[in-house]
Symmetry: C2
Subunit: 139 residues, 2 copies
């Protein structure tokens, strides 16, 4: 069973940690210890979060901080930042169905629109939750 990569849950964990810690504490090694993985895994994910404009990292000396308030970061923002699934690509489609068959010819367009509705429903739900809603539960 193929699941959505744990990059996403690690990214959420990472951002929660940055939100509740002082900036200078938040080195890759510190985060890696809380997540319980290799620091390089964290640095890679931090690179994606930086590209998405969610965090900034102090090169050389280390430490990270948020570029938006936790109220303004949703799970959907994080999900998109780590490229875990692209637009309309949650469901893999079998390739080149037979054009000579009425079903084969039409299945893709007919089914894809339903699948993309389903994907949207999930993403819409992710957009309802902000980082701040999570961090209050660690107090």
């Amino acid at each position: 069973m193929k699941q959505i990569s744990s990059r996403f849950s690690i990214a959420v964990h990472t951002l929660c940690l940055i939100a509740v810690s002082s900036s200078e504490d938040c080195t890759g090694d510190y985060i890696a210890e809380s997540v319980n993985t290799n620091p390089v895994v964290i640095r890679r994910i931090m690179g994606l979060l930086k590209k998405a404009g969610l965090v900034e990292v102090r090169p050389g000396v280390g430490g990270a901080s948020l570029l938006k308030t936790p109220e303004d970061i949703t799970l959907l923002d994080i999900y998109r930042a780590v490229h875990v699934i692209e637009d309309n690509q949650l469901f893999r489609f079998h390739e080149d169905p037979n054009e000579g068959c009425p079903v084969g010819r039409n299945i893709e367009s007919v089914l894809q629109s339903e699948l993309s509705e389903a994907q949207s429903a999930m993403e819409h739900r992710l957009a309802q939750t902000t980082l701040s809603q999570l961090t209050v539960k660690f107090k």
Copy 2:
């Protein structure tokens, strides 16, 4: 990017074909030709659809037919039948976060409930669409 297996889209294609064709025509080879894949792939998926009580297959002579009307088969039924994602398992979670850290200790329970809401939202949308809504579009 990990996507949900094309077993699902192939299963939907297969059931559409069974719904619009006469039972005796629906051999594995015939379906495989429409889907454009190897017959064994179809037989494996048919095995799952049988286990789920959606179709019956005539052994020896070949051919398949639905055990429910197309109005009573939803995309969610098919999605569950092909075991493409289990309950609450759409999102992979990183393992063994550090219990010594307030974030590490709580992240799983806090985040999992949001993620399972998101997964439910998607599945709820899949349950809205029936096989008959698809097949009318092939007429």
